[in-house]
């Protein structure tokens, strides 16, 4: 059986693949870079915030830390210390807004501390383009854009199908940039195909889940929001406003958890989602892993006033939607394989970034042979600005998180401005630079230099890291080591790019190189 497409089909799929890829490439690249870092969110979160580094405080009851909170809204999240570290945490949206607030609860000192360090959480949210300033519309836009990426993947497979096995291991960097980028694009793209497909699909569904849910209430459930919510289960976190009845005192959390565990003894409570707290019909979702099920977590919903079990979602009891949601979430957030799986996924994410960038470079190299206009010059400069600028901006964020005083109220916003400013500055640098190679090595080198002092500066906030005077915490020290390894790799890459860039005497402007006309070459090199 021949996998070869007809000439017409090949040309059409090629055009769709090229245009879908170019249009979606840079934003999807940023999501892949941030996603690769977010694989290590627990380690980064522990490294950045000293309050997470100590052993958990002794708690007389699960309810005790909540008594420390100044005021509890009707809807809030309560997190117990995880992995034997840190303090309990309270989180909620400010009423009527998308602004998220978090508080550490210290039941020993009887104090409530506002969350002061959110660099890792900021990267996590930014990975799917969520911010409390922009709300959900940007997240939905990202979800739609990734459909374009999916289209690029599918058409890429179709046009490459006949050569799939023949060129699977073919990588020929000695044959020049056009062949090298094309081979890299195909090798990384084919080997990473299941990974990129799964992440594009699951990421899109997760980003669009709230919107899809809202759109389904009328046609599927006849406008019955409560029925829709009950069917959606854990798929939907942000529920529409429901009437939870008149005020009524909630039962202590320990009573509610006992009720949940009586219904599902395998559940280990890790977090709680209260809705309608202080109301007669308010509920609490008791969430945590189910013993014996390594993939996905469980949930028992209990009435806060009655302690009556209202619903259970475990792998064998869940609805079809719940099962799909569990797999989508579990696959996307790598709820299997421990750190080993995360490191392998990191390699695949980096390869995904290489697939995206090499696709743009193949596009540019192919058009270098023909006439090249403003669009290609712009794409070349944007690819360099975004490609290297993302890494530079992340390095600047981590450095600022160690420099800024931990007790300064404005530090989280300042960190966001540092990331945004660094990224936009890199974009501007790339747009103004006539030489993409120079953009790459200056920004990569800059990122490496920014990462170098971080383990030293980290000792200002914690003594449990690589260079601290206290007993080393493995996660904290590992992040310090990773910063130095990343710095060395970035500086090495910058040095190599600079060494391979054209000599200064015959350096041409990007537009002249892309136009590739003999006359211009002669004119620019005339002494």
């Amino acid at each position: 059986m021949s996998w070869k497409l007809s000439r017409h089909a090949f040309r059409r799929f090629w055009d769709v693949h090229a245009w879908a890829g170019v249009i979606t490439s840079l934003l999807v690249y940023v999501m892949f870079v941030l996603g690769s870092l977010v694989l290590f969110y627990p380690q980064l979160a522990r490294w950045e915030e000293p309050l997470r580094q100590g052993p958990p405080p002794p708690m007389a009851s699960l309810q005790q830390p909540l008594a420390v909170a100044n005021a509890l809204p009707e809807e809030f999240y309560y997190y117990l210390p995880r992995h034997d570290q840190g303090l309990p945490k309270l989180g909620y949206y400010l009423p009527g807004t998308t602004s998220w607030r978090e508080w550490w609860l210290d039941p020993v000192a009887m104090r409530e501390l506002p969350a002061r360090e959110r660099a890792a959480a900021f990267l996590y949210d930014l990975h799917y383009l969520w911010h409390d300033v922009t709300g959900f519309w940007l997240q939905y836009g990202a979800g739609v854009l990734v459909f374009g990426f999916l289209l690029a993947i599918v058409t890429g497979v179709l046009i490459h199908l006949k050569d799939l096995s023949r060129q699977l291991h073919q990588f020929r960097p000695e044959r020049g940039p056009r062949v090298a980028w094309s081979d890299l694009h195909k090798v990384a793209g084919v080997f990473g195909l299941p990974f990129q497909l799964v992440y594009a699909l699951t990421g899109t569904l997760m980003a669009l889940a709230p919107l899809l849910f809202a759109l389904s209430v009328a046609p599927v459930f006849g406008g019955d929001e409560r029925a829709a919510v009950q069917t959606a289960g854990a798929l939907i976190d942000d529920l529409p406003p429901l009437d939870y009845g008149p005020p009524a005192a909630p039962l202590p959390l320990d009573v509610l958890v006992a009720s949940a565990r009586a219904a599902e003894p395998r559940l280990t409570p890790e977090s709680f989602v209260f809705r309608g707290y202080g109301r007669r019909d308010g509920t609490v979702d008791v969430r945590g892993p189910i013993a014996g099920h390594a993939f996905g977590a469980g949930l028992v919903q209990v009435g806060v006033h009655s302690a009556r079990v209202l619903g259970i979602e475990t792998p064998e009891r869940e609805t079809a939607v719940g099962g799909v949601a569990r797999f989508i979430h579990g696959l996307h957030t790598v709820e299997y394989g421990g750190l080993t799986a995360r490191w392998l996924m990191f390699v695949l994410a980096v390869a995904g970034c290489a697939t995206i960038l090499s696709g743009n470079w193949v596009w540019l190299e192919r058009r270098q042979a023909r006439a090249s206009g403003f669009g290609n010059v712009l794409l070349a400069r944007l690819t360099a600005g975004v490609g290297a600028g993302t890494l530079f901006a992340v390095a600047a964020l981590f450095l600022s998180s160690r420099i800024l005083p931990m007790d300064w109220e404005g530090r989280t916003r300042a960190e966001e401005y540092v990331l945004a400013g660094s990224f936009l500055g890199s974009l501007a640098w790339g747009a103004c630079s006539s030489n993409s190679a120079r953009t790459w090595w200056t920004l990569l080198g800059g990122a490496g230099l920014l990462l170098l002092p971080i383990p030293v500066l980290a000792t200002r906030h914690s003594q449990l890291g690589l260079l601290g005077s206290g007993a080393r915490d493995p996660s904290v020290a590992a992040v310090d080591v990773a910063m130095w390894i990343a710095a060395a790799l970035l500086l090495g890459l910058a040095w190599r790019i600079r060494a391979q860039a054209r000599p200064a005497g015959s350096q041409l402007s990007e537009s002249a190189r892309l136009r590739g006309t003999a006359d211009e070459l002669l004119a620019r090199n005339r002494p």
Binding site: H169, Q170, P173, V187, F191, G192, F195, G292, Y336, V347
Partner: protein
């Protein structure tokens, strides 16, 4: 250490599949042991066996669908690395595979199965 052994076995499998591919060569150099079709078939069979063993070993430390995912993810990631590194540093590739394979077997003999 079980995780490391599994990763090493998947790496060896990826290297064997790379070596068995007719197009994975640097210039005209190819691993002598894999010149004949029979040897290449044997290499592919050995790679398949290593993947099955890796999945079986992982299943001893994590239940559910995790072993299948780990084998797939491992082959994807390590296959990418092998394909990109293989043409530039084939000796490093094969030395790593031999050393990794030997070390993993030694470890299991000393420490036993999980």
């Amino acid at each position: 250490m079980t995780e490391v052994v599994v990763v090493l076995w998947l790496y060896c499998a990826a290297v064997l599949l790379y070596g068995a591919d007719l197009r994975s060569r640097r210039g005209d150099a190819r691993l002598e042991a894999l010149r004949t079709p029979a040897h290449r078939k044997g290499a592919r069979a050995l790679a398949a066996g290593l993947c099955l063993l890796a999945g079986w070993l992982w299943a001893r430390i994590e239940p559910g669908p995790a072993p299948y995912f780990m084998v797939l993810v491992g082959l994807m990631a390590l296959g990418t690395v092998v394909a990109l590194v293989g043409s530039r540093a084939p000796r490093l590739l094969w030395t790593g595979a031999l050393a990794g394979g030997a070390l993993s077997v030694l470890w299991l003999l000393v420490a036993g199965l999980p």
